[in-house]
Amino acid sequence: MASSKGYSGKILKVDLTTGKFEEIATAKYESWGGGHGMGSAIFFDLCTDKTIKGTDPGNVVTLMTSPLSGTLAPSVAGRTEVQGIGIQAYPIGWFTRSNFGGRFSTQLKFAGWDGIVVTGKSPKKVWLNIVNGDVKLQDATSLWGLNTRETQEEIWAAVEPSKKDVGWVNMGTSRDAGRTTQHPAVLTTGPNAEKYGPMAALVHDAGNGAGQGGFGGVFASKNLKAISVLGTGGVNIANPQALMDARIWANGYSFAGHHDTPASYVGLTAFGSTPGKPLSSVQDLAAGTKSRPQGCVGCIRNCRGRTSNGKGNESQCVDFFWYDHHDVNAHGHVTDASTRAADAIQLMGVNAFAVEAATLWIESLHNQGILGKGKKIDSNLPFDSFGSGEWAEAFINSIVTQTDIGKELSKGVAQAAKAWGRFEIDTASGILPLQEWGLPHHYDARTEVEWGYGSLIGERDINEHDFNWHVYWTPTINGLFGKVPAVSAQRLSEIFAKKTAPYNDPMMINYSDEGIYSAAMAKTVAWHRHYTRFYKQSMLFCDWAWADMVNPYGPDHEGMTSIGENKFMNAVTGGDMTFEQGMEVGRRIWNLDRAVWALQGRHRDIEKFSEYSYTTGAHPGTTTYEAPYTMPVFENNEWAYKSVAGRVLDRQKVEDWKTLFFTLEGWDVKSGWPTRDTLTKLDLVNVADELEKAGKLGASA
């Protein structure tokens, strides 16, 4: 094959309108690396009118893998990047992304494809069946109303020949057609997802979901129920020895290499996390529930679990968190309500972050007597058992069946707030935690600004924990337990400076009242945008393991980031990309995305957080994470960890920071649009041309 190692060499393009399939040569898009970069570039080329709505048949949805998908690169191989015009953000459904784990990308690579591009709208309800090079659209009428588990099990039965002879399924008539013991990997929507599109996720296996953007609804709008893929091939590795060596080297940075003496580290880490430790499934299981760790393909940390009662399988983090604190508030401890809540969203294919924000808000409205039986917002949900499994299931069911308050919530949380006339008042008080673009508040823009800025200048809740574990969770947890963090604020700034090429500025993690508006914070956000666009969303390093900044097993707590990523990539592809070269590709992808948003109507004037960010400090009950927000600050010439809880943002200073950021990115500070100079340097002249034609090209400084 002509293409580089690691790639399958071809991308499947499916035109649902005509039912025709085409192959796109991966080589054409290889300069983008894979995943998001390729997805954005393909979207830019194929989606001719980028101002359409996400439900328009002209929307182009990409599901992309990376050269590392289906390889031994640790905690990379299982993830798939989903892109297209979303239907969740408000008021404009930005061109956006989501990402899910499991086995899908691996099976896709094994089937010989680097990605899938879906265009058009099918005249009838269909699902896409991929077995190696054999691709078919099949009738999905009988699957349309099924939940995600039922759909997947029906598809398994359809794809797998009658009976496994010796446990191996031969995928064709020839005995050399390829065989496997594995089930097809199926990505599906919940029942009738077009009816709650903005809330609808894509789900794969028991607990892998792509929720952000409402891609479940986008699929359904195209009359596409599911995509099944089964492959019996492999991924050719340029340097198998180097890959084995690298993986064994990585064991030294993880629990995998320290079974006998795991680190006792107070705080949260990524790569170095122990299975079953915080932010895995274990803490949200009812007492006595036995379980195992469970991971996506090739994972080294295996953060999820499967349980002795099969409840809560493969769920973790927000899948439980959207409800577990309500469970604990109601019962004093975790009961099966948390797992029932997790299973409800997985089976129905509903976005966990959206219902997390909605539940907090609904609880407030109910407590204020605005929402409930016979109230202004009438609801028959069983509020007297709020916190129970019944309530969680009834709530999710109301969205999926568009009944009760689900009638409005099925159109999106921001849309429901508008319909009920509560949007302005509740986003001002903060009881409706939608932080930017009508999207759920996750980590707090007022305190952990890199998260907020990234989401605002971007198009979605970034959901990237590269800084978060170390600048928020670890000092905060240590503070809660009255401990001194193992890594001092000073040392933390050194580690981050070392790992954040090309900026390498120790002030990048200064979250002081001045620091959050500084030029260094512009570098932080730029580095984060570029790093994640390339390494995490294009090469598909998992957010739950990468970046590896602080690692309890690393030399003096230094993780693998800036060395590890390229070690794995080069072993697989045979290339010699440096860390900084990857960062440049990230910058290029970020600029392309920014250009698409400009075409969709983005301007710096509309880049504002919700009102509460400027006026109201975080207080208990308004967001999920109301613990004291302790962060590294550089004040009085000295590094320290300090609580910045309660802080609000200064409107003008945020605007000034945006100017600093746009300047750093080489964008027009007046509009926030990329300039021809910047795009030309990134070999994106065609993008500059399209912006110019639309009157959206930034003026050069």
Partner: protein, 271 residues
């Protein structure tokens, strides 16, 4: 579920078959071609047995062998029973093929002139070009008088003979490997060689069937492979050189099948 593989349980038949062919040749009496009224005896019974034993088994060998997957080509059959059935059919064909080829080879040893009939002459290349050109209808050639076998056939004969010998030798090693420990390094050479020879054999047999059985022009000769005879007119038209030989030695009796008969010199080219 498992299957009995005849390559294991009946391996002795493979070793017996060549001797059976040799013995059969020893007791066979041949009839030379001759003009019989308005027809010409072209193939005696022994020739027809040789041909059809080899032909049927070769086709079966190719079909089963290719179905099992040659070189890098995927098998046509599914795993389990289909594969085992193909292996057993391959076995049966091996026995028949060995009988046929050894019968033929021994007959040829006993009657070297028959070998000479098959060997190409200096005209081979030019005649072959013209022959196929004419058959395919895109060359306006005039064919010179051909002898019993077209020069084109003689060229193919060499290729088939080489492939056959290779297939038999490598095949016997493969059979032996069922009964004794044959070094893996040897098998690593033998198996692909067997497969390559198979491809060569296929390259012979497909055109052979096309030109000798499917093309209407060849139907008289196909018929002769069953009846042994062609019409005098056909022989006159297609094999003038051979007919001239037969007329020259027309008086020779049936005893010409004697082992020590001297080969008749080839006639000069007519035209």
């Amino acid at each position: 579920m498992s299957a009995k593989l005849m390559f294991n349980s009946l391996a002795w038949l493979v070793w017996l078959a060549p001797f059976a062919g040799i013995l059969a040749a020893g007791v066979t009496r041949r009839t030379d071609p001759r003009i019989e009224g308005d027809s010409v005896l072209r193939h005696d019974m022994a020739a027809r047995v040789e041909h059809w034993a080899t032909a049927i088994s070769a086709v079966l060998l190719l079909l089963t062998g290719i179905s099992l997957g040659v070189l890098f080509v995927p098998a046509l059959l599914g795993p389990g029973v289909p594969i085992w059935t193909a292996l057993n059919l391959h076995f049966a064909a091996v026995v028949m093929f060995l009988f046929g080829t050894f019968y033929y080879a021994t007959n040829t040893v006993l009657s070297p002139k028959r070998l000479a009939e098959h060997l190409p002459t200096g005209d081979a290349v030019e005649y072959t070009k013209r022959h196929y050109g004419l058959l395919l209808g895109f060359k306006k050639f005039t064919m010179p008088p051909e002898r019993k076998y077209f020069e084109s056939e003689k060229m193919a004969y060499l290729m088939a003979a080489a492939a056959t010998i290779t297939i038999i030798i490598t095949g016997l090693v493969k059979v032996a490997a069922h009964s004794m420990s044959v070094p893996g390094q040897l098998m690593a050479v033998v198996t692909p060689t067997h497969d390559i020879a198979t491809v060569v054999m296929l390259a012979f047999i497909v055109p052979h069937i096309f030109f000798a059985a499917i093309l209407p022009a060849s139907w008289p000769i196909l018929r002769s492979m069953f009846t042994g005879r062609v019409s005098l007119g056909y022989a006159q038209h297609e094999h003038a050189g051979w007919l001239a030989e037969l007329e020259q030695i027309g008086e020779t009796s049936d005893e010409s099948n004697d082992d020590d008969v001297i080969q008749t010199p080839a006639p000069k080219r007519v035209a």
